[in-house]
Amino acid sequence: MAWLSHDETIALLLSLRVAAVATACALPPATACAWLLARWRFIGKSLLETALLLPLILPPVVTGYVLLEVFGHRGVIGRVLDALHLTIAFRWTGAALAAGVMAFPLLVVALRTAFESVDRKLEQAAATLGANAWRIFFGITLPLSLRGLVAGVALAFARAFGEFGATITFVSSIPGETRTLPIALYELLETPGGEGGALRLTWVAVIVALIATLGAALLLRGQRATEIES
């Protein structure tokens, strides 16, 4: 990366780390939510669906302030985290939380669609063969929804990578800690004469998006190849 300054490289690496951690940590709860919504009817289902959409509907700055209220040093949970030396306020982990929260709804929607596309009759058949819910999920539902899963993860990663409003409001801009690529890009845009640098960083973001998309496509192609072979 000879054509990126030191600061810009740090911002890029930080963004990659934040987005990867955000996506990885969002995946288990998102999978649980998606499976619940896809396969179960329960009281409060609409409420859950609405709550999940909130990060998409609310202005990101608002989400950022909510995170600040809850996870900041003075926040209900933040206070506890501080006491346990697990502070996330003004740390890259806080940036990861912001990115994860913003990417969460997209992930749930994608995973839910993927699970709903799996024929329930196959899951029923698995149950008659004695499989418990775990075996059915991991052995039948998950493998058959892999395509949608990979697409969902790629989408969530992209959203997490590009996250700006909630991040800068919650953890502000701290070089090396919370100054992700989108924030660095923003700062350049807001500086007189910074357009050139902003364009450079934009290209970097495009390249990251391309790699993520290609990676997902390759993963799926690999899966399809094994299907054809056997």
């Binding site: 024929d119 009759k121 196959l122 029923q124 058949a125 698995a126 149950a127 008659t128 063969l129 004695g130 499989a131 418990n132 075996r135 052995g139 039948i140 493998p143 058959l144 299907e227 056997s230």
Partner: protein, 231 residues
Amino acid sequence: MIELDFALTRGEFVLQLALRSEARALALFGDSGCGKTSTLHAIAGLLKPARGRIALDGRVLFDADERAGVPVAQRRLGVVFQDVRLFPHLSVRDNLRYGAPSSNDSSRFDDAVQLLGLGALLKRKPDRLSGGQARRVAIGRALLCDPAALLLDEPLSNLHREARAEVLEHLRGLKRELALTTILVSHQADEVLALADAVALLDDGRLRKVLPVAQFGGEQRFATRATAEAR
């Protein structure tokens, strides 16, 4: 001993039947829409009756009064669905083994494979199987989960003549080799004659009659339109 005494509604359709049969292999016979598949699904636990009791060989699977209901996965019933439902992402071998994943009993496995003529198909994926082959794999899969009873839903449906004959032959073989309580759903008389010991005649959600298979052959007026078409 097959004990069915329940009622269930699916939308507009009401199914209600009560029977006790000592037959080893009972066929549920009737036109499409008479409730025979729903009955099978109720026995399997995929449908929940509004009231009543279901027991097989002394094991109570469902009892509304006692609020007892064995979960699907614990009913130990081998179900062969009309739409086959093989797992598309697993090989034939893995499909067969799905019901008994931790079993080290390779002799059971080999016996079933031999009984159903699946030896050459083990490495294939379900999309590479013919109708008859897929059906046989489904039967093998149901057998290998070591069930207390076998539930067959129209096992010969949607098969062309040769495949029908092939699968029927294998089923006959199974009937000979294994003494497994079997409930068979069918709307075709020849299946019933070949495989059942007793026949329950269903019509529009109601049980009309239960008779030994020998008498069924004589009751030609119960042969349905579908059977006539099949010939």
